[in-house]
Symmetry: C2
Subunit: 403 residues, 2 copies
Amino acid sequence: MTKQDKSFQADAGLGKALDLLRQPTAQQQPLPKSLTAQGIGEEAALSLLAPYVFGEASYLDSPTALAHMDPPTPWITWATSLWNARLNQNLLHPATAPFARQAEEIVMAWLAPWFGMQGGHMCSGSTLANLTALWAARDAGKVDQIIASTSAHISIAKAANILGLPYKQVATNAMGQIDPAKVSELGDLSNACLVLTAGTTATGVIDNLALVGKAKWTHIDAAWAGPLCLSEKYAGLLAGMELADSVAVSAHKWLFQPKDSALVMFRQLELANLAISFGGGYLAAPNIGVQGSRGAAAISLLATLLAWGKGGLAQRIEQTMSMSHTLAEALQQETDVILLAMPTTGVTVFRPTNISTEQLYQRLPAGMLSTCIVEGEDWLRSVAANPMADMDKIIDAIRKALP
Amino acid sequence: MTKQDKSFQADAGLGKALDLLRQPTAQQQPLPKSLTAQGIGEEAALSLLAPYVFGEASYLDSPTALAHMDPPTPWITWATSLWNARLNQNLLHPATAPFARQAEEIVMAWLAPWFGMQGGHMCSGSTLANLTALWAARDAGKVDQIIASTSAHISIAKAANILGLPYKQVATNAMGQIDPAKVSELGDLSNACLVLTAGTTATGVIDNLALVGKAKWTHIDAAWAGPLCLSEKYAGLLAGMELADSVAVSAHKWLFQPKDSALVMFRQLELANLAISFGGGYLAAPNIGVQGSRGAAAISLLATLLAWGKGGLAQRIEQTMSMSHTLAEALQQETDVILLAMPTTGVTVFRPTNISTEQLYQRLPAGMLSTCIVEGEDWLRSVAANPMADMDKIIDAIRKALP
């Protein structure tokens, strides 16, 4: 006899969770100060939490949200996240994830060729994807130092620290692109891993990809701009990427996936996998990559790719790119605004001339823009990750906020 | 004007996703061979995928599933995973996750004291939690080697490799517990990190926690057995844990959470955080830990703790512990079975005497048990992670499969 624990069964409360998502209630009741001895039950817990979860959230699909490299997510990924939580498959073990593992293979086979890579695996974010690639660079590529520009993401410095490798930073031009002359000055790169950034955090610029192949191992941190290769219109921006040894891409950025979803890909997959695999003899399949047990993020990505096709994905990327051009062109008309440069990958950076950047930031609706530092100066930054943004409203709000 | 992209809005198809979850359809249609140019739309994509996702899944809540350290998940976590996917908050940035960050602080404040720790953070699995702790041991604890038993999880060897630290393995007793005499023989541990396992992968045994504090840094990999500290009945098994420097626990194991959910906790939180924080000046809040952008797993855990309370969680842990005792007692009655030992943390290991372990395994329903290797010999292994298991059915199936 088994005790049928209703907490583990599809319950009518799931419908209520959907109702709360569609029409969140506002009235917050206090949360307990510590872990209570007795619970309040599932439905009461959802009712108690909903006003916090939905009431104190950042709405990435708001018409005025164009601030961060965090997109809203298509509802099909909400549905598949529900499915994933229900099944709780473990990608580590073939026995506990028969189709979920296959889904990851499918997604990788569909996507890796566009990046010029043989294949790879998914992991929980691009910081891990970068760490994984640099781990492979150290152990498969036998590099003994990591080189990147001063505009590279902090995850590169972090990976170098974790891996115990010396980290050299190279100066950039005013836009934040690595300076090829400074790379040449470093001399012999035959034991170095050169990290190029495709879409820097601050200005979204892409490093000169003619540098790919100049070092023993070239890794491209394409966390932000990588998906542009799926757009015929913009793929040229990433020409040369196919010669890199590894590429990291955040699926939870421009592939519109929920958090904890990234791709790490290698040009020579077997070579890389050999260096980053553990427990071949112990597990039914070797544990490849930094993580062990992990979930089925691939199912959400597969669902999105099925629903949209390459065309639907490219259309949304191109639409957000066009939003950044619209914004930049409008800002060019303003006499009291300096535009750093025309955006190349959806990131528009500007500042006011009559008030401080911080003052203008404070006058704008919350979540509309973010700030960044370029060459020691404060700038406003807009990232076009939200296909639901209303550019008229955003441009209007900026105009009204200018003195 | 904004184009209202219905792919990003709560759609009637969400109800269909719930229907497919409750009553999966069986008929599989072929999946495309490559990324198609045009998509088929969200509802068609869900209908196409459901027979694969649900038809080729491992059902962890099956009455006969008692094989792996992978539990079924309570439905409240399916609901919150839906919410998390919809909001896509980024725990890295206060601005993009106002309540989600607070939820993690709440969960940590509620749980860490039970483990004797000051606090910590969540990450995508215990492999990352172990890596994070050993990174802190290296850089805050200034250790220059890692020591663990031959029964330690492969993530410890992997972390040592990634961190570039020498890794020493110590012999165990027949049950797989680290041999304290062999630890003493190592001599000076004043620059070493000693990793003790609370719930080994193979047999679920807990290392002798009297060894905590014998090295410069002691880390407890409590991925599996850590949550026992929330049960008054079993907390004593973990006595001494509170003196460790760091503890890693998988929330997606005995805390019944969906995948990609773990806790890394430290006794001296500030000391540890200093060593594993990056970008203090660049981000609004420093990026603590291995990951960068990450999702709101804490909301699912908070919802579960609210719904169940400490009592409800402890009751389910104790219930599964009792399942393993029931199984072991039944196996003791069988003359053709050798029980390795009485289970201490829900892991029951045994083998048949008249046929091979593999033969018995093949005769049992798929997903009922797993296999493991202890001292070079093959054994059958049952892990009591499924509160929905039917012990009568499981014991009956084993009896029928024995020759």
